[in-house]
Amino acid sequence: MNAQPIPTHPIALTAEEATGMEQRNIKKHDVAIILLHWFNASVWLIELISGLALIVGAAYRVMPQWYTTMIASALGSRANVLRVHIAIGLTWIIVFLVYGVFGYRNYLRKEVLVNEIGLDQDDWQWLRIRVLLILNRTKEALPEQGSYNAGQKLFALLVYAALPVIAVTGIIMSFHLFETSVVAWAMLLHFLAVGMVVSGLMVHAYMGAVFPEERPAFFSMITGRVNELFAYKHHFKWWKQTKIEQRRWQQEFQSTTPSEPKSD
């Protein structure tokens, strides 16, 4: 049994300790979340490509004509682009509703959400220092972080706010619900909500896939695990909490395991 006390704040590690921790993994994401993440990512990719090809009115378009023509040609017609956009969008909504119902207890209860994506004082500090660090303007150490860092939390909050807007406005436009003016406002809100998420999504994708220090977080969305050293350095509060839970589990495990009977 490991008798060493769990540090309350990050302490300097020896090279041996660091190497040891780098080789040990701890569980970060459930398989359901990993699947949902990549399903969501695929949907966003398809919906962005098709959605941008659907805004063609001269007063509204954001992409050049060759783009909208190319996507329409690829799918046969512009009506097909809209059909694909609606079909995938509705599938996305249904999948998230199922997730909401079955995943509520594990992932969406208020206590879980506050713990995972609520921002505390450390998080606001982290945001400031993180930006300065990227710009090479400070030597300050980043404050301790929970299972998600402040940037990830902000992005999650933005997504949680935008997701219902995107879904509801999408449904209104798909089925021409309510008054004509409601459809018109839905169109604007759909565009704005997606636009805001996309600007955050770019940071999310860059941090996950390109930024070297966060690379283990990217792989954790494939394997479900992160190495302990990464957790220790980037998500200390979460590492500490995980260690305490692990100790408790180990003790319970030992106390419930019957000792081997003595042979005569």
Partner: protein, 243 residues
């Protein structure tokens, strides 16, 4: 390629609404709406010199339609024959085109929740038939044809007999419905049914003035920030060992 136009001989129109009925029946136009209608102009002048007329209102299939650029989804488009058409599969029913039409010729079909209007009877034309309203008009007040065909009646009426477009100094977008009649008739019609300046729906105004710029700025600024970070990352290189 054809360039379709319609001429309304207002001196022959008696306001019987046969065209309205034929159109509604042909295209199952819902109650309370019409693709073509014949409102009265009311009376003008002073007794005993009074004047009244009927005005035939419908989509003018304009050369420079304001409804086409106003449509966000591109459902409203100008066909190669110059007519303005709606691809109903693409229409989301936002009403932007209804507001943009200076001739108040469009409506949102409450059943389908999509825009609708006169399409110069495309399905009938494809079968070689005249539009339903033209065929039905007992006074033969409606003439339909191809302005590219110099032997057509519309060509003669428009280019040789001075049929006029219903335009104003401020709204002149090349309508392809022309009117003939006495100057008094045309004047009294213009007084009540002249085209109104096209409107842009409020969400459309915000889209152009704020939303599009905001989204492009947010995405652009994020992209620029990341580009800087990425090139810095390239210059610095990555660590081989975590410290």
């Amino acid at each position: 390629m054809a360039r379709y136009a319609m001429v309304i001989k207002t001196e022959r129109c008696v306001g019987c609404q046969s065209c309205t009925v034929a159109c509604k029946s042909e295209w199952d136009v819902p109650n309370g709406y019409a693709r073509t209608r014949v409102p009265e102009t009311g009376t003008s002048g002073t007794f005993p010199n009074l004047n009244t007329s009927f005005h035939v209102n419908q989509c003018n299939h304009c050369d420079r339609p304001t409804c086409v650029p106003a449509c966000p989804s591109g459902a409203t488009y100008q066909a190669e024959d110059g007519t303005v058409q709606i691809d109903r599969a693409l229409c989301i029913g936002c009403g932007a085109c209804v507001a943009a039409c200076p001739y108040r010729a469009r409506y949102i079909d409450p059943g389908a929740g999509k825009a609708d209007k006169c399409d110069f009877c495309t399905p009938r034309r494809e079968q070689g038939l005249a539009p339903a309203c033209v065929l039905t008009c007992p006074g033969e007040a409606k003439v339909f044809g191809d302005l590219e065909d110099s032997s057509s009646d519309v060509y003669r009426l428009v280019y040789r007999e001075g049929a006029r477009r219903m335009v104003t100094n401020t709204v002149s977008i090349g309508p392809n419905v022309y009117y003939t009649g006495t100057p008094e008739h045309l004047e009294v019609q213009a007084a009540s049914f002249a085209p109104v300046p096209p409107r842009t729906i409020a969400p459309g105004v915000i889209w152009g003035a704020i939303a599009k710029k905001l989204v492009l700025l947010a995405v652009g600024a994020t992209f620029a920030g990341q580009a800087i970070a990425f090139f810095r990352q390239l210059a610095v290189g990555e660590k081989r060992f975590e410290d």
